[in-house]
């Protein structure tokens, strides 16, 4: 069995944590720019169209209410998906760290202990 260095093991685990966090949260930032904001802007435009049609008499108040509620639920769906995405990223980070701990310990003891 090779000598176990706590510092070296901690460095390897930290490195895995940083690498996985960077990859995951880069994806989240990209998701906000490329998906969340454009979708929210589509919803904002739809709301403006509904307002215009209500103003010019094309829509009744009842129709406008239903269409606005649909836009609100669409925006909620964007938020829920985003929360789901963040949860998945946190899950990936934690599991990458657990995997790094496993590999570090196995390498240190020289056998597949974990």
């Amino acid at each position: 069995m090779t000598a176990f260095s706590v510092k070296s093991a901690a460095d390897k685990i930290l490195s895995a944590l940083i690498k996985q966090s960077r990859t995951s949260f880069e994806g989240v930032v990209q998701d906000i720019d490329q998906h969340v904001i454009p979708t929210m802007s589509l919803i904002a435009r739809s709301l403006a169209v509904i307002g215009g049609r209500l103003a010019d008499g094309t829509y009744t108040k009842a129709i406008a209410d239903v269409e606005v509620a649909a836009q609100t639920d669409a925006a909620a769906a964007v938020i829920v998906r985003f929360a789901n995405r963040v949860l998945k990223d946190i899950q990936d980070i934690v599991n990458a760290v657990i995997d790094a701990v496993k590999q570090t310990i196995n390498m240190a003891v020289g056998v597949a202990l974990i």
Binding site: L42, I43, A70, D73, A76, I79, N84, V94, N95, I105
Partner: protein, 242 residues
Amino acid sequence: MAAAPPAQGRNPEQSLHHRSVFQTVSQLVLREQLDNRQNQNYRKRFLSSILAGLLVTGCTVQLTAPYSNDIEIEASALQSDFLKFAAGMQLVAGTPKGYYDQHSTQYSDFEARLAIIRMRSESLNGGVPCSQALDAAKKVRVPIAGKIEQSVTAALSQPEESNASCITILAGLAEKNMERLRTQHELRCNASAKPILCTTLFSAPPIFSIIGEGPSEAPLVSAVIITLNELVGAERDLRPTK
């Protein structure tokens, strides 16, 4: 260490193994409490052994609902069929061929498929409830403005939704928007309604005008497309990373 199961819940043998290991750990905890007063070093060694024990059992963290290939395929097919339906409706909206009674069976099909997706999602165990993720988002001040927050809160306030996964919530939101479109189609596309009410429901071709960068002339269809897209995307986001 075993990877998290990709779909359809956990392996029963693995769960059994985990349970027996956790029982052993619990017994050790009780024994440790009895001997607790012996010395601090013993406690440190013991806690380390628990940590090692958890690692040895193949412990992975499962925060989201497990990925389901069935749900992804079904939701994706539904999204595609709905887009084809909406594109077809653009060609006939405002004419008798666009009347609701000519298309009511399509809605039955879409709504039944959404119900199946929702039921499948509800049957998958694992992960934390979506409400906890959203609460955490509020605590870190991720902006969830006014009505959107109300909508999310309303979606989660149904008793059956309080422990629901994000996928189940998304399927529910898609169901609500699909039902809104169905009722509006019924009210606005018939012989006694003004044709403009039907043409403003579906707008004119091409379908890209609804989902692309331009002004969305069919807000309700656009809302259905967005909720379906979020459902498909959220399931795709859960695909295990290689």
